[in-house]
Amino acid sequence: GAGVSQSPSNKVTEKGKDVELRCDPISGHTALYWYRQSLGQGLEFLIYFQGNSAPDKSGLPSDRFSAERTGGSVSTLTIQRTQQEDSAVYLCASSLRGGKETQYFGPGTRLLVL
């Protein structure tokens, strides 16, 4: 079956514009994670969805960042009024039930804010 998919694969935007990044998890996976991978910064946790529970938003860097997960499947990460420091690769991962389950990563969306 298909793995985690993300779109777009690359996004170039101008400072101040809003962007939406999409993640399609593996079918049946109830847990979904967003991370940011910046040069020299490693992987930064952003947000975690588990089933119908309230998401863990503790990693979101500012109120310009938000994420939704509709119907327990597809997730959208929205960055409002983008800044140059938002430039990074945004990774999505899913796992069967969260907890002890292995996370499977998508290919990422490379965002460049000019």
């Binding site: 975690y48 863990d56 991962a93 907890g99 002890k100 996370q103 990563f105």
Partner: protein, 108 residues
């Protein structure tokens, strides 16, 4: 809050030499530790986890609670081991935290 530290951003060894990628963590609870790897132009993927006590591609990692470390080791590095390696910690409430990563280069 949990924290994962990988002190080396870059590590270079010759083929056949032993390699050790360091990982230290801080967490007040009982941690679950992982190593993830990202080969060139591939997705990030799980390499191994401490609870499995397994050896994957010749790599092993032992959780040392006294030293709060989870170093990744391989006795004889291969060129195909060249990749970015991330140490990660999962807390009791399922939060995952990754280290900054170590880029390993194995030279011929």
């Amino acid at each position: 809050a949990q924290r994962v530290t990988q002190p080396e951003k870059l590590l270079s060894v010759f083929k056949g030499a032993p390699v050790e990628l360091k990982c230290n963590y801080s967490y007040s609870g009982s941690p679950e530790l992982f190593w993830y790897v990202q080969y060139s132009r591939q997705r990030l993927q799980l390499l191994l986890r401490h609870i499995s006590r397994e050896s994957i591609k010749g790599f092993t990692a032992d959780l040392n609670k006294g030293e709060t470390s989870f170093h990744l080791k391989k006795p004889f590095a291969q060129e195909e081991d060249s990749a970015m390696y991330y140490c990660a910690l999962r807390s009791n409430n399922n939060d995952m935290r990754f280290g900054a990563g170590t880029r390993l280069t194995v030279k011929p």
